[in-house]
Symmetry: C2
Subunit: 827 residues, 2 copies
């Protein structure tokens, strides 16, 4: 009975979780009576946003006319205002001091005989957040007739960062070009920025840093500041403070100085001058973000100064304006000697910043990635979280799925983030402890600032993040930043309902896929804490097992023929475990008490080491990759059950993504398993790894004009090789089917390179049964684990002796590369 | 007392072992009296060559005037003639039938009161060979006053092949461009070809194939045959028969036919027509060489015909002219599925040709590489040698050092060839058995033809093969083809004496280096039968451990983390051992009876397997590579003892080569050991592998403008990386020496790429202590194991705190790449 509501509307995903779809009758019944008028106390851009949103949301969801007023009407109404204004009208409202900044209070009162749904904020932003809260409760089908609820954010900092470059590209962005910049300027049409601000505000995000942390110093020049101010103007009505990333060598690069020594008074004067100029244009600027002395960025080490020196010279320029500086803790040596077994990139953040605890000014915040490495599929919490007592800190979470499928794989990150947020660092002797979520909020050590930073990197794709399901991560980040104790299931469930509607099968299926997605991704990429076994010094997407080894980037898993894992113990390893509070470190120091899922992060063990699960490490690797790939395939099956239960656009778009993911999960499975099978020399007890029933290598097919090419790294192509075709030719690979007559599924595994288009066709005899164009602009220009792609052609009738033929016509740059075909009985 | 004779003459190596240096007096005393006149019976180009050579040799060695006549003079004389002519003058000469073709008889007789040194040949060629024999005996300081000796070749076929292309390049040639061809034509000046023919004749070689087995079909067109005939004309006086390589698809490519099916009468007619044309121009043509159905060459498989069909259609065209066809047994599938453990390239020759035994015509000869793979540093004999009873066969040996250091490393191949020639295949029940040398001669099974083919590939370098010591291989091939029972030491000793003179220290040292060179090369490249662990699908020169794995070329060593080796047993492997006569195969089938040096050719064993030597496999790998590199270093020390004992040109040239080799042996040592240390995870019990005292990585030096680059494959650079410099820049890498004051040797390990020039300088403080230009045209255009090169700067005084600085200025294409410096105390 829910199937009608939204299924006929075309959707692009642009509205995300703020669709305000008309509520089906049974949902409306649950919601109860809702006032059809809204009363706004006061007048400001933020307050008007709140009122307009209520009008927009209610009129759409209730299909009713909503009236707006500035004084209490003679009907029931939704009353929007700051607490002090509301108390003037409603005597039993709570006193404003009881709410923290950005908090709000929702209550139902009778005022002059009319029901008033009070939305009272501690500040204007609180009013806006309260308005969104009411609308989302209605959209989720919750009863709003008797509200009495206060909501306060977990932390003052709830920001997103964008790694957008001024030329319009986005570093680690996977959904089109920048919504802010193009060609060295801010875009003319900022409608999309405003709509983005609305999305952020709806989940309580109050700050956005618009440019890449690998910052162009031009951003803070007089010529560019007016451009930035335009962005601030459209974000301001949504209570979102703008901030910018800065380059630490700016005094020399744009300031006309011969130094950027933070202790040089001329440098201090430079920063004061530039910060003052920023605040003249943007009086409510949030502050700045600084990446220094890392990955080639210049920093205070050039003058033997400390990170605190660097942060404070800028913090002191910001302080008079109440601005803050986020100093990134992601500082490490990317030229480390990999042969020295004591070297350990994981140690870097603590080693750099722990000695400086207490040296940072009150308006400086250390921005710490959630784990000690770099957004891998599984990491323990950064030990810095438990180690800083006199330094503001914020946790940096990555919404853009850099190492987690780059929005081509569904990977709901809230469960992963919660493994860190909920981790008790035992930083004090208090009970119930000091989970990371408390430490970063600043409460544990009474810090004046702290909170959550998410690297968002939305782009100009219609649905913001490329994959419709990826928006659950942006939503989830906001929800956690507001309240990190909410469960992943609740977040997934809420997001799904808001995004896809109320059909219980839809909600249950999509929530289930979301909750299962990270574990599946971990299983088919890098289980047991080995990290995402990807091409670590390149695009960070497809498999590349050895790419992390033997280079200075320090992300080593140390796999050799006998075993795998980084020994980070005090006893025999890098001593990383000593950076934790002893009770925490002791758990990881001991092989026995280290949980299986982090085993290889902390210990080097032989492949024959037996896990707590009872399996050997090598068998776990095989099993995990087969299980993960099977789960990815199952996502497709589960999704297909939803056909016609909502709009066909998003149904089809997500189905295509899940189909692709299922194929790429097999690329991962085979690459990782083939590599470990080779190097360990230990067979898969289940007999799967290295055996591929029904698979016919392109090299073994009868080929015309196709040449054989070795694929690098070898494990990313079946048998290490592909058939490649020169542009301008038509290449074919033929195979005579010898199996029994029946209905089969045919997988065509090919390489969709980023540098052109190849037209593929599949024939049975003379009959073309499928054709498609490989024209991705993604990943890599050669055949490898980034580009390996599976085309499934299902339910093909074959007789023994039928000839299958793959034909390709590549253009000037593509290779039309073919890996194999695989013929299996249709299920 | 011998040190004066030749030491002041400038030498280029062009004269090779035919220098005819004036004999020192003590040597002359040993030689005894030598006639100063020469009498030639008959008159033909070959006979005149014999006479002229005697005049040339004696007049030079004896510093005397030599008179020539056509009838016995009134003085002692050297009498040259065929046996029938000699017997007419000297009644007690043996009857001609007692000598086989090309054989000769040397004897001292008194004729009409004068001493006559008789050089009597079975045929004219025998006369020429006898003349060379007398001259070399004199040059070696042997007494020739009472000769009575008959010499017969071991086999009728003693040919060299050249892989020269018509454009002047040489496939697997390492000493300059072709002496035959340039720019699609035969060279105008063929002086060098004549001189080459003389060298060949001096050691009994009677045939030369001038063009690449990967043949250009144009060679046998009417337009090109006159060119070939010019080559035949200059070789003819040396008794060297010319032959050509042909392309099997010629009927289609140049014959205007739509087929090259060997059973098609039109194809047979084509071959008859072309062969007749060849013989019209070159009546004494030796025959043709054919590579078919291998490495992309077309062959009879295109029409489902056999190799015998292919050989015979051409053999029948040759037969009326007494020509022969060499059909190459090097036929294998280079697209083999490496994942199938039963696949084995080593099986290919036997599998292809054993079933055809008896099917080849009498003038077809199967040309079989000495081992079952491809000229690796150690192989067992090809099982085909013991398996063919009704087919002519020739053994193909490779003089050009394709997998054996490419004439940049000294590697005297006679000892290696003898491991195969002396191997008893037990092909019959005869005693003393059937060593390969007997089988290929044709004697064992009374075949009409058979013998030895050497792939020579001399080039236009002054010394023919690039490295002065490499000529010992061309000489040694000739000696073995004539008489394979002569010892390697005798050959080395003879060659050294002829080439470098009579100083006992010189002869002993160079002979010693030659005899030690192949074992050393085997130790630092690929011990235990694993094959040369080189870049197998590229230039076949520097290390590249994994390059042979996971491709269709089939040269696999199957190393993984647990063990190494190809299991070729019947019981558990590819069954290759079944191709040998059972008694021979049984030795290799059993792990216990397989000799250590071939262990990994036949068995896959864990690294912990204990050898007959008592060492584990992994420790043997480490030890062997350290020992081999130390031996290469010792060659330099040994050579340095020879300074001023002969001409400084060849002294300096060989010293430079040995110096280079010692450095490159360290590249090999480190690459192989680092790779096995990594994959096995088993440390070197001697603590050397992976530890490099005194080494400072370029990446760890203080660098200006130098960038870090990952080297592929990683094991070919220390720590897997190099510092690279862009053209047009001056890059520097500095290191402050912290060791004790003293005299040190400084090794600068850099990459001398093939694509440009980089100017390197080494400074201590401000003082330049060395500079050199990396401008090799060899190997590879990137930093890797082919280009890694060591510059040794010896005896440098350093104080603690001194700054060492490497500076480079690369040109447009070179990278000026630097790997490391290594500082060690001077010995």
């Amino acid at each position: 009975m829910f199937t009608i509501a939204a299924s006929v509307q075309a959707e692009t995903g642009y509205d995300a979780w703020l669709r305000y779809a008309p509520l089906p009758a049974p949902v409306m019944a649950r919601v109860g009576s809702v006032p059809l008028s809204v009363t706004l106390l006061g007048n400001s851009p933020v307050l008007r946003s709140a009122r307009d949103e209520v009008v927009r949301g209610l009129s759409s969801m209730l299909a009713a006319q909503i009236t707006a007023s500035t004084a209490l009407p003679q009907t029931s109404t939704i009353l929007l205002g700051t607490l002090d204004r509301v108390r003037a009208l409603v005597p039993d409202a709570p006193p404003p001091a009881e709410l923290t900044n950005d908090g709000f209070w929702l209550a139902t009162r009778a005022v002059r005989g009319q029901t008033v749904l009070i939305v009272a904020g501690r500040n204007e932003r609180g009013v806006l957040y309260g308005a969104f809260a009411v609308l989302q409760r209605i959209a989720r089908g919750e009863n709003v007739s008797r509200l009495n609820e206060r909501q306060e954010p977990a932390a003052p900092v709830r920001w997103v960062n964008h790694w957008d470059n001024l030329d319009g590209t986005i570093e680690r962005g996977y959904a089109g070009r920048s919504i802010f910049f193009e060609n060295g300027r801010v875009l003319d049409d900022l409608t999309r920025v405003s709509d983005y601000g609305r999305l952020l505000a709806s989940v309580g995000i109050n700050g956005v840093t618009v440019n890449n942390v690998n910052a162009n110093p031009l951003v803070i020049t007089d010529g560019f500041i007016p451009q930035i101010a335009r962005l601030a103007d459209v974000l301001r009505p949504w209570g979102v403070a703008l901030s910018v990333s800065i380059d630490f060598s700016s005094p020399r690069r744009i300031g006309g100085l011969d130094t950027f020594d933070p202790l040089d008074p001329r440098v201090a004067a430079f920063w004061k001058d530039r910060v003052d100029a920023l605040y003249r244009a943007i009086p409510d600027l949030g502050g700045v973000v600084l990446k220094a002395d890392s990955e080639g960025r210049l920093g205070p080490s050039a003058y033997n100064r400390t990170h605190a020196d660097a942060a404070n010279v800028i913090a002191r320029a910001l302080a008079p304006h109440n601005g803050v500086i986020f100093y990134r803790g992601f500082v490490y040596d990317n030229l480390m000697d990999w042969r020295e077994p004591k070297n350990d990139r994981a140690r870097a953040a603590y080693d750099n910043f722990h000695p400086l605890d207490g040296k940072f000014d009150a308006n400086a915040i250390l921005q710490i990635k959630h784990g000690p490495i770099d957004f891998q599929v599984r990491e323990p919490p950064s030990p810095l979280f438990g180690a800083l007592r006199n330094t503001n800190q914020a946790i940096e979470l990555q919404i853009t799925q850099e190492y987690l499928g780059q929005q081509r794989h569904v990977c709901f990150l809230v469960p992963m983030w919660k493994t860190v947020l909920d981790f008790d660092m035992l930083a004090t002797s208090t009970s119930p402890g000091t989970p990371v979520r408390e430490l970063v909020s600043g409460r544990t050590f009474n810090r004046p600032a702290g909170g959550f930073v998410g690297v968002s990197n939305v782009g100009r794709d219609a649905n913001w993040l490329g994959h419709d399901l990826a928006m659950a991560n942006l939503y989830g980040f906001g929800r956690l930043a507001w309240n990190p104790t909410v469960s992943a299931r609740d977040i997934a469930n809420d997001w799904t309902t808001l995004t896809f509607g109320h059909d219980p099968q839809v909600v249950e299926t999509i929530t289930g896929i979301l909750l299962d997605s990270w574990p599946a991704y971990e299983r088919y990429t890098g289980p047991l804490g080995a990290g995402t076994l990807t091409d670590i010094i390149g695009v960070h997407y497809g498999p590349g097992i050895e790419s992390s080894e033997r280079n200075g980037w320090g992300q080593w898993h140390r796999a050799n023929g006998r075993g795998i894992g980084m020994d980070r113990t005090i006893a025999t390893g890098t001593g990383f475990t000593s950076q934790y509070i002893p009770l925490v470190g002791a758990q990881f120091e001991s092989l026995a008490s280290t949980p299986d899922e982090l085993l290889l992060f902390f210990h080097h063990v032989p492949y024959t080491h037996v896990l707590h699960s009872g399996k050997t490490v090598i068998q776990h690797i095989y099993d995990s990759h087969y299980q993960g790939a099977a789960e990815a395939a199952d996502f497709v099956t589960r999704w297909r059950q939803l056909e016609r239960l909502f709009d066909r656009e998003r149904y089809a778009s997500v189905l295509a993504s899940l189909d692709y993911q299922a194929g790429h999960a097999i690329v991962w499975r085979d690459a990782v398993n083939n590599w470990f099978l080779w190097i360990s020399g230990i067979p898969d007890a289940m007999g799967r790894a290295g055996r591929f029933p029904g698979r016919v290598e392109a090299e073994a097919m009868t080929r015309e004009r196709y040449a054989n090419t070795a694929v690098v790294p070898w494990e990313t192509a079946s048998a290490g090789q592909a058939a490649t075709c020169q542009a301008g030719q038509t290449c074919t690979a033929r195979h005579r089917y010898q199996g029994p007559a029946g209905t089969v599924d045919i997988a065509v595994q090919y390489f969709d390179e980023s540098d052109g288009a190849s037209r593929f066709s599949l024939f049975v005899g003379d009959r073309q049964i499928d054709s498609w164009t490989a024209d991705a602009q993604f990943g890599s220009a050669t055949p490898n684990g980034h580009t390996s792609t599976r085309r499934m052609v299902r339910n093909v009738r074959l007789a023994s002796g039928d000839e299958l033929r793959v034909q390709v016509e590549p253009d000037a740059l593509e290779n039309g590369a073919l890996d194999y075909i695989e013929i299996t009985s249709s299920p």
